[in-house]
């Protein structure tokens, strides 16, 4: 730990809060860890997907004859091979639209809705042959006009993606087809009155582009449909149970027929929850009678997995001259991609969650467009909203002549603050984060260099609970096996093992965590939403408590004592009144075999006590006035982690999220041509930051304990991506005097703004 990474702890534990080496680390630094693409099975076939070259078209016909005849090809499928093709509208009733969307998302039946939409798939002896076969499939398309801009898609005369989609608005269903899938609205107090009381009102429109999670490992899936009708899947996913459910749904199978083994996963950030390939690989495997492996190319990842939505926003805020907010309002439209389901609701709930304000109103629209269906990306919805709200708040501060941190301290959400959509905050650490930012060396030192500026922005994410299951078995050498269903993307084996070790009072090294398949553990929700260290951690703690209770009763049995007279403390059992009777965990473990066998603790949790996360980021930027290029020269991220179980991995989450945000702010975007085709599906042209584009990312972990967890843990993975875009925009303003209101803030846009300011 260096001064660059501070942890402001109030409570110290033995294992929780320490920085042990992760259990899967050696495998990952030696190349031995098995990721999804590394799966090897006897007789393995390789699959490729034929994808639509059009952003919007009707499929008139598909002829797979020539592809099937190519030597080495073992199976070809289209949407006709999915169960949906044989199901009638009558059978499905109210479920028709939902299942059609799910099935068409796997393989398009009547229409393609984005460039990259799967239309057929081939399994062959190797990937090169499969690729050659794709070129032999003849698809007759009738191209249709496409719409990729969210506002354009909302217009009455916009091309319609789905003939049957109608707007659901506060429980009412619209009377004609529309690309607007839903309109949501929340209100608190009276915004008209609030704006009336304001001395200053700022109202702005802003936009953000589609961006991708950018995980380095492409999607993959290997399927083997055994002759007994049992389907095995090995895949890279944030949730093995989510894959099982999705495949069961599309293939109309009971979940018990499917076993999903989650392989090591090369990044996800929300993007590896949707199962894109598994149902296709399974169907090919069934048809070919052999195991089938399918890997996406990088272009497929960009064009056909889920990006985060582009958005349009109108933000309005009003305050008194002393800085007190009187009213806030947001209208936000998010593109869902080809099928409904953008995170617009999360955008609405997060937008103003940093502020305690009487009057607020938020309206949101979920809009389908001819882009790949969007997926979750770290704090889904919140970063877009924060870009809008936090830059407008900065403008308000500027107009009022207020320091941005003082202004936020004055209006900060705290325990008891009621959010616009209703919930009341429990103990949260936003004020503590703001104070830590204000007192940080970074904030007290002016930004360095010419044409430089500093931006401040805050962010919020609610965090998640949901179900987790854990088993802890005691080995006779005194170690324990910790079995869980949460896949480990960034060190959760370590952070959950630490919580188990802490609870049992044993050494971290004596806990052997493992992530298992869906047949080997109870239902566990995805790794995502900043829930794993919290919820699966809770499950591990409860399983450990159960082990402790059983160790107590075993000792009582050995000592022929009453259970009530035996207690568990500091990793040992002891008789409450006879100091002679004491057994360390290892000593007792050694006796288990001869006194009735091992003990195992099991726990299923569905906790509601997740604590909200808040963050404050400070960004120093330098803008080259000749080229419009922005360099981030210093960056500090401050965040309330509740309790950082493994501070290094908490810092890692913060740094990684902040850097994704820096990319989103400055360069990352889906670039579409006039007809709606993505033009930049490579890492060359989708410009994620390299090591050379960044300074060190300093962190401050604030610890305001979450009362919903024994060690005070809050989720940490999402909120770091929320403030960066606004922090950088505010920094660019200080450096140049320009307000950038559309993401990304590329050099080209900054030049254009400069020219406009200087009169063309």
């Amino acid at each position: 730990m260096t001064l660059s990474n501070q942890v402001l702890s109030e409570v110290e534990y033995n294992v929780v809060g320490k920085r042990p080496v992760r259990p899967d680390g050696v495998d990952k630094v030696t190349g031995r860890a098995q990721y999804g693409a590394d799966v090897k099975l006897t007789g393995l076939l390789h699959a490729k997907v034929l994808r639509s070259p059009h952003p919007h078209a009707r499929i008139r016909s598909i002829d797979t004859g020539k592809a099937e005849a190519l030597p080495g090809v073992k199976a070809v499928i289209t949407a006709k091979d999915l169960p949906f093709a044989a199901l009638s509208r009558e059978e499905l009733g109210g479920d028709y639209n939902r299942l059609k969307f799910a099935s068409d998302h796997m393989l398009a039946s009547d229409k393609v809705l984005y460039k990259g939409h799967p239309v057929a798939a081939v399994a062959a002896v190797n990937a090169h042959v499969a690729e050659s076969a794709l070129a032999l499939i003849e698809v007759d398309y009738e191209p249709l006009e496409a719409v990729v801009d969210v506002r354009a898609a909302m217009r009455d005369d916009a091309p319609l993606l789905h003939a049957e989609l109608r707007t659901s608005s506060m429980g009412e269903i619209g009377d004609k087809p529309s690309n607007v899938a839903a309109h949501l609205s929340y209100e608190k107090g009276d915004v008209e009155q609030g704006f009336g009381e304001a001395d200053v009102v700022v109202e702005r429109e802003l936009t953000t582009a589609s961006v991708h999670q950018g995980y380095i490992e492409p999607h993959n899936s290997t399927a083997f449909w055994n002759t007994d009708g049992q389907l095995n899947l090995w895949t890279s996913t944030q949730g093995a149970f989510a894959v099982r459910a999705a495949v069961a749904d599309v293939l109309r199978l009971p979940v018990s027929r499917i076993k999903v083994t989650p392989m090591e996963i090369g990044g996800g950030f929300g993007g590896k929850i949707t199962a894109y390939l598994d149902a296709i690989a399974a169907t090919l495997s069934q048809k070919a009678g052999a195991p089938v492996k399918q890997l996406m190319t990088r272009a497929e990842v960009f064009e056909a997995s889920g990006p985060a939505p582009g958005s349009w926003m109108k933000v309005k805020v009003g305050a008194k001259n002393d800085g007190r907010l009187t009213a806030v309002q947001l209208e936000v439209a998010m593109d869902a991609g080809a099928y409904p389901g953008s995170p617009v609701m999360q955008a609405m709930t997060c937008a103003f969650a940093c502020y305690d304000v009487e009057n607020g109103k938020v309206d949101g629209y979920d809009v389908v467009v001819n882009k790949p269906k969007t997926a979750a990306y770290r704090a889904p919805g919140s970063p877009q909203a924060a870009f809008g709200v936090e830059t407008v708040m900065d403008e308000l501060c500027q107009q009022l002549g207020l320091d941005p941190i003082d202004f936020r301290l004055l209006n900060a959400a705290k325990e008891g603050t009621r959010r616009i959509e209703g919930p009341v905050a429990r103990r949260i650490g936003f004020v503590e984060c703001l104070e830590a930012a204000r007192d940080h060396d970074h904030y007290r030192t002016p930004p360095e260099g010419e044409n430089s500026g500093r931006g401040v922005a805050a962010g919020y994410w609610m965090n998640r609970g949901f179900q987790s299951s854990c088993v802890i078995t005691v080995n006779f050498d005194g170690t324990v096996s910790l079995i869980m269903g949460s896949v480990d993307i960034g060190g959760t084996r370590a952070s959950i093992a630490q919580q188990a070790a802490e609870t049992l009072g044993i050494a971290y090294e004596d806990v052997k965590p493992m992530v298992v398949d869906t047949d080997s553990i109870g239902f566990t929700f995805i790794t995502g939403g900043s829930r794993t260290s919290f919820a699966t951690g809770l499950a591990a703690i409860e399983a450990a408590e159960s082990v402790k209770a059983q160790m107590v009763s075993r000792a009582a049995k050995i000592w022929d004592a009453a259970e009530d007279d035996v207690e568990y403390a500091d990793g040992a059992v002891r008789h409450k009144s006879d100091p002679e009777l004491r057994l360390g965990f290892k000593d007792l473990a050694r006796q288990l075999a001869t006194t009735g066998g091992t003990v195992a603790g099991q726990s299923n949790v569905d906790p509601a006590g997740e604590g909200n996360s808040y963050a404050v980021h400070l960004a120093d930027v330098q803008v080259d006035p000749d080229t419009g290029k922005t360099e981030v020269t210093r960056y500090t991220a401050i965040q309330d982690a509740g309790k950082a179980v493994h501070p290094s991995y908490v810092e890692g989450q913060i740094q990684g999220g902040a850097v994704q945000g820096i990319g989103w702010a400055l360069n990352e975007e889906y670039y579409f041509d006039n007809s709606g085709r993505m033009m930049n599906p490579t890492f060359l042209d989708y410009r994620m930051p390299t090591s050379l584009d960044l300074p060190m990312i300093d962190t401050v972990i604030v610890e305001v304990a979450n009362s919903g967890h024994p060690y005070g843990v809050r989720g940490v993975g999402e909120v770091p991506i929320v403030p960066p875009m606004a922090a950088i925009a505010n920094g660019i303003h200080e450096a140049t005097g320009l307000r950038l209101r559309s993401l990304p803030m590329t050099p080209g846009k900054i030049l254009e703004e400069q020219w406009e300011r200087n009169g063309g």
Binding site: V26, K28, A33, Q34, Q655, Q660, T682
Partner: protein
């Protein structure tokens, strides 16, 4: 129809013979023909560095090398980085500094970092950031990776 070619190369110090099609990249050969899956694919077009290997002493992206080009040459991969005696100091430093999250980029970063420190043992932060710019990591924001390399470098701490 062109067939398969016999190639002889030294891989991690071992004389190795394999058959491959000319169109197979060195990355495909390592992973699919030789079963050495420690070398990773992130993009297959030279932009991510996950497939980094050492070819005759230089780091290259193995997705942009043909397997047949390895004929008579020496290839080093992540599988050869640790010795039976233990991890390479960089591997140890990556573990201790939490320089990996998902780990998919890690083999590439390790080989690239080793090549740098072999050539320039005193590389400083700026040099390390420049050298590693051909390796993308999406999880860490590079901070802990750069720190892990600095720790092994002999450059004076700033």
């Amino acid at each position: 129809m062109p067939g398969v070619v016999h190639v002889q190369a030294k891989i991690n110090g071992e004389d190795t013979n394999f058959l491959c099609e000319p169109r197979q990249s060195l990355l495909e050969v390592l992973r699919d023909v030789l079963g050495m899956t420690g070398t990773k694919e992130g993009c297959n077009d030279g932009n991510c560095g996950a497939c980094t290997v050492v070819l005759d002493g230089r780091i290259v992206d193995s997705c942009l090398v043909l397997g047949v080009e390895a004929q008579g040459r020496e290839v080093q991969t992540i599988e050869g980085m640790a010795s039976p005696g233990g991890l390479h100091p960089l591997q140890q430093s990556f573990l201790e500094n939490a320089a990996l999250q998902c780990g998919i980029c890690t083999p590439g970063f390790l080989l690239a970092s080793r090549a740098l420190l072999d050539a320039e043992p005193d590389a400083d932060e700026g040099r390390i950031r420049h050298w590693l710019a051909g390796n993308l990591c999406r999880c860490t924001g590079y901070d802990k990776i750069v720190r892990a390399v600095i720790q092994v470098s002999t450059a004076p701490e700033k």
